[in-house]
Symmetry: C2
Subunit: 339 residues, 2 copies
DNA sequence: CTGAAAGCGCTAACAG
DNA sequence: CTGTTAGCGCTTTCAG
């Protein structure tokens, strides 16, 4: 028989109201009573009934605020669809979602969104935008007020967020190396392209790649910093390919994929060198179809959205704290046939 | 404002009991009243509240029976863990799970399990065992009694099961071909190994592979039927490898992977030919570590378990019918680094 | 064929 | 500090 709050109350000789107070850490219970109740709870292995809880919450649903970049950024659509999937499952289980879209190039916009959610009395926040001191301060403020914040997709480091859900950048670098090793079996030279080595996040993939090729006969010819711009990427890669005729592969860790592909095309090397990159955007699909890109490595963005919301829900409704500070979503190897 | 059963009742001038009867298709409501209520339901876009429903069901939980092969088959552990994950989320939401482990080599055992669940009054059944006429008959019987059956992992074709959740065999063959193409760029010959071409399920991967290599310079040297046995596999593959010195790759569609790996080893070809197989079992991990196997293709078995239970839950508790007859779980490409 | 009422387990507001 | 009570929305039994 499943144990209820009422049984605990009877066994402890108190009312269920009191048990509820103890269970939810509300103040106003004599310490000794609290302790006795806790003992009984442990002993009976009480597990709260979700349906009952959710139903009771229906009067005043738990509000979860979601801060996202503008809707037109396609990458986030997938994340949003994951959030939506979780929301569908959680439909009618005592929550209400408030979406806030903020300009992701202005930190003030992100901060303002958090502020707004705090003011409106949100119970939890899902934040998927850039890292910055101002943002950090706002997240910490929410945390102080007891509003848990989950960062998603890109972390806000050193903040009081409850956990981060996103990709394992280093792992994707290691996988890229594994793929290269399978395609380039003899002594060979590869180019690694990244945005900006000053950022930890960008270095992670490159260092994973380095680790991954250790012990193989693959040599990194150069690491090119492209700063995410088409021009820089195109020019630097093209120059390298022209000056150096023995490049066997390219690992595009981060940066402007279009610029890189064009450089390969104009160097007349399309399909002649092995090419591994990340994520799937139209340019990548195109490049795969043309046989320029061999593999792309994906971080299940749907899963990111799904997990983030679930974590917040579980914390808010069942009190279950996330079991880790970092939740890495599945890293998968993709070829067009596997989509 | 969310609309409730009570509002519908008021608007229709009846009691909530009557609305409930209509909503759940129970008999004993005058046709005209039923119709009027249905109209209002549509008009108001009524969505039942899950928490309330689940809570009410708590008196007499919906019982879902799960028929699985014996616990010691490791492959099924992953499926079970997926079922468990769904069960955890559904904890306290009005269901109760009954696991039944049956000998998967005896159809009578599977049939008896279904019979038992029917007799014990299960509301839904998850079936993950072999296909057979006797099984089909039992599934159909359950279906007639209004007990939905979901087949998982391997389908029971032409039965009245509500849907099937499993892998897309053909797709995995196509992916295998895509991987081979990326590793074997020149004219090359591959061996395809399968269990038994008489079965549709086994032919599917092979035909997917054939499709996938179309237009490439890969040629299928031979399709070997191994009948899942170590001996057959070992002997046939070894013989082929010895008699034929120009095999560049092996696609192990189904069969005894251990036998095949040993044949490759003893032919002195470990690491010298490209090798793609399916799933991940200890032998495969070993083969990957030794550099014999390049890629393995996986069908997320956890997802199978998770989805299956969710589908049954949604059907039973919210009345949402599965949107498709076939649910294919994600097919993913795996190398050791990506695990 | 239909209505009324009790109850699923928990929360919250109000007394005391 | 603690007990009581009235719901949350739906199902189910018992009358009528």
């Amino acid at each position: 028989m499943t144990v209820t709050i009422r049984q605990i109350a009877e066994k402890a000789g108190v009312s269920r109201g009191t048990v509820d107070r103890v269970l939810n850490g509300r103040s106003g219970v004599k310490p000794e009573v609290r302790e006795r109740i806790m003992e009984i709870v442990d002993e009976l292995q009480y597990v709260p009934n979700l349906a009952a809880k959710a139903l009771a919450f229906n009067k005043k649903p738990v509000r979860i605020g979601i801060v996202l970049p503008p809707r037109d950024i396609t990458f986030f659509e997938q994340i949003t669809s994951g959030i939506q999937a979780a929301a569908d499952e959680l439909q009618g289980l005592g929550i209400q979602l408030d979406y806030l879209y903020a300009d992701n190039r202005r930190v003030e916009a992100g901060a303002a969104a958090i502020r707004q959610l705090i003011d409106e009395g949100a119970s939890g926040i899902l934040y998927a935008m850039m890292d910055d001191d101002l943002i950090r301060a706002h997240i910490d403020e929410a945390a102080e007020l007891g509003i848990p914040v989950v960062t998603m997709n890109s972390d806000v480091e050193q903040s009081k967020r409850i956990c981060f859900v996103g990709q394992d950048l280093k792992k994707s670098g290691v996988i890229a190396a594994g793929l290269m090793r399978r395609m380039l079996r003899g002594p060979s030279r590869v180019l690694v392209i990244t945005s900006n080595l000053q950022f930890h996040a960008h270095r992670a993939r490159v260092s994973g790649f380095r680790e991954g090729i250790a012990g193989s006969r693959i040599h990194i010819e150069a690491v090119i910093e492209s700063f995410d711009r088409y021009e820089d990427t195109y020019n630097k890669v093209l120059m390298q390919l022209k000056s150096d005729s023995n490049v066997d592969g390219i690992y595009m860790a981060t940066g402007h994929i279009g610029g890189c592909l064009d450089a390969v095309r104009n160097a007349g090397l399309a399909g002649k060198l092995r090419f591994v990159c990340n994520d799937i955007i139209p340019e990548v699909e195109e490049g795969m179809k043309q046989g320029i890109i061999d593999f792309t490595i994906m971080q299940n963005p749907m899963q990111q959205g799904y997990r983030s919301l679930r974590i917040l829900y579980d914390l808010l409704l069942t009190g279950k704290r996330p079991d880790a500070e970092y939740y890495y979503t599945e890293t998968s190897i993709v070829i067009p046939e596997s989509l």
